[in-house]
Every structure is written in C-alpha cells, then in structure tokens.
C-alpha cells in the first residue's frame, strides 16, 4: 500500500520533471531559432521556398473553407437576426465574427494541420535519415539552414492566410446574404463599415494571427527536431504537433480576446 503510493508519487514527479525539461528545451530552442535567423534572411531564397510549401500550398484549403464558413455565417446569422427584425445587420455580424475570431482561429487550425504537420514530418524524417547529423558533420548549422527558414515562413504566411480567410468569408457572407437571401446591398456594406474599426477589430485580428503563426510553427519545428528518429517517433511527433498547436491556438485565443476586446468595448 505504502510502496504503491511511493511509486505513484515518484511517477508523478518524474513525469512532471520530464514535461518541464521538454518545455525548457522548447524555450531554449525558440531562442536558438531567433539567434540563428540571420541565414533565413540573408539567403531569403530558402525562406521563399518554405513560404511556397507552408503558405502557397495552404491557400486552396484556406480560400475554400473561408468561403464556406462565410456562407454558413450568412445563412445562420440571417436566420437569427431576422427574428429580431434586424436582418440588415448581417454584414456586421459576418464581418466582426470573421475578422475578430473565426478568421485567425480557423485559419490557424487549418494551418496547423496542413502546414504544421508537414513541417514536423519533414524535419523529423530528416533527423531519422540522419540528414541533420550529416549537416552538422559538414559544419552546416541545421537550425540556421533547416529550422529558421521554416519558422519564418510560417510566421510570414499565417497573417496573410488569415486575412485571405476573412476576406473570402465576408465575400461568402455577401454572396449568401445579398445575392441569395436578398439583404439590401447598401445596408450590408454600410452597416459593416460603420461598426468595424480598423484598429480595434482588423489590426487586433492581424495581431492574433501573427501570434498563432509564431505558436504553430514553433511547436511544429520543435516537435520535428525533438522527434525520436524512428518511423513511430515521427508519426507521434506529427500527431502531437496538430494536437498541441490546436490547443495552443484555442487557449491563446481566449487570452488575447480577453486582453483585446473586453477593455476596448467598455469605454
């Protein structure tokens, strides 16, 4: 009985220590990426190549989902607003919910599963096939050559993808609201323009997407770099990337929303 308790406590302790060690390693890894980012900007071709893989190839899924999310918002929002006789406010509802929340969050989740997992798998496989060790042998810094360009590519791509998502979503809401249901076009745009604030809403949305971009790519490159060099290890790391970054996005979103929108609206 007592031995079992001791064993349980010891397991808990070692588990917690391992988690903390990993967190500390991740933080040191983040600093290392920042310190070794010089190459990513001096040889910008490397970063451009990664923007192609992380950003350009994610565009299709982002554009299509943005359009559909906007169209669904248009349908559902109109249904509810109509009950209160304010169907004209559809533009406000669609624009505010996309620019403030849905754009950054859904684009971030899609980005994590589309690009984050690919980054982890790629770096993990490079490690498993000893390409990273080979680079070190040739005195090429793998963090500067492999990790930093991917990190910066993700950070640059994410705000652009979120902006595209929101823009397409608003267009989708416009299609459904104005063209299909028949909300007045003038009211749709003018009410939207009257209530969406460039600094409070749009800029905060961009900041959110930037924060998500940093979080997702950081988790992705770290999981890849830290993956056990086996087929199993890489697959586990890929799963962890998607799960951890999705949770990180949702948790960060709550914190950012609490910081950005509660004080601003009370005035």
């Amino acid at each position: 009985m007592l031995a079992g308790l001791r064993q349980g406590l010891a397991d808990l302790g070692s588990g917690a220590t391992a988690k903390l060690l990993r967190l500390g390693f991740a933080a040191r890894f983040f600093v290392a990426i920042l310190l070794h980012s010089g190459t990513a900007f001096r040889r910008f071709g490397l970063t451009i190549r990664e923007i192609y893989f992380a950003g350009v190839l994610s565009m299709v899924i982002i554009l299509v989902s943005g359009l559909f999310v906007g169209m669904v918002l248009g349908l559902q929002g109109f249904e509810t607003l109509q009950r209160y006789g304010s169907g004209d406010a559809l533009g406000v509802l669609v624009a505010l919910s996309l620019v403030r929340e849905l754009g950054p969050v859904i684009a971030g989740l899609l980005f994590a599963s589309r690009a984050g997992s690919a980054i982890t798998a790629e770096i993990g496989l490079m490690k498993a096939t000893e390409q990273i060790a080979a680079m070190e042998m040739m005195a090429v810094d793998p963090i500067a050559r492999v990790v930093a360009p991917r990190f910066w590519a993700g950070v640059i791509s994410m705000p652009l993808l979120a902006a595209l998502f929101s823009a397409l979503g608003i267009f989708g809401g416009y299609l459904v609201g104005v063209k299909l249901i028949g909300v007045d076009e003038g009211a749709f745009w003018s009410q939207m323009q009257a209530s969406v604030d460039v600094r409070n809403d749009i800029l905060n949305g961009v900041i959110k997407s930037l924060v998500f971009g940093v979080a997702v790519t950081w988790i992705a490159v770290f999981e890849g770099y830290d993956a056990p060099p086996t087929a199993e290890g890489v697959s586990g790391a890929t799963t962890r990337t998607v799960v951890t970054s999705s949770l990180a996005i949702l948790a960060l979103d709550f914190v950012l929303t609490a910081l950005m929108f509660t004080g601003g609206n009370a005035k």
Binding site: I51, L160, A163, L164, Q193, A194
Partner: protein
Amino acid sequence: MKRSIIDIWVGTFVAVGFGGLLFLALKVGNLASFSTAETYQVQAKFANIGGLKVRAPIKSAGVVVGRVSNVTFDNESYEALVTFNVDAQYRFPRDTSAKILTSGLLGEQYVGLEAGGDGVMLKQGDRLRLTQSAVVLENLISQFLFNKAAEGKDSKDGK
C-alpha cells in the same frame, strides 16, 4: 520545381494576402472614411448624454458631418461636455442646436445638428448653446406612470 516558378507563386501569394488585408481595411473597416480632411472642433454641454460614445457620428439632416472626439464631465456645471469634430466642408450657423438622438428603436446614439438662422458661422472652438439631452427610457416610463397615477386620482376626486 524550378526556383523562378516558386518565386512567382510566393509573389502571387504575398500579393493576394496583402490584397485581402487591404480589402479588409478599405472595404470592411472603411479606412478611407478616416479622412485626414480638415475639421473644426465644436463643443456642447448636455445634461445627460445617455449612451453616447466617442466616435459616434454627428448628423445633420441624416448626413454624417463629423464624429464625437471626446466626452468629459464638467465639474462646475455637473454636465457632460461633448467635443466633436465637424468636417470643414460643412458650415453651420452659430445658433445651431444639438440633440442626442437614437437611430432606430434600440440603435446607437448620435448627435443631431439642426441649423439655426444666424448669419455668423460656427468656427473652431465654439460652443453650442442650445442642446437637448438624450431620452432616458426609465425617466420616460416613470413620468408616464406618475401622469397615469395623477389622472386616476383626479378622476376619483371628481366623482
């Protein structure tokens, strides 16, 4: 894939992404209406501003002619001091009156200007003399109830 094709795709992606941001800023957020056009500042005191907020529109005849820039409490007269910027292209007589109105039944509040007949025009730093406060629903209801109660009493006394 060839380097130049990747460059073109990334260029397109960045251009489209910034296009999306620009669309959000201009078409959705209406940055263009944050005109840096000349404005002049006018102040007005209200006994009660209700839910008037900074950046609320100033309208005259239904046209937006400016925005509220500041709302403060005046310690001496115990009234609200509302400062607003009026677009320089719109000129109003000095005896213009300001009312706090509500758009729709439950909409946002705005300041309505009604032009007077004075020949001298408002200029930077002027203060409007004639103002009308926001209608507070609770006051209206209590007034109505008091009136009703008084009426009831009168009719009883009359019998």
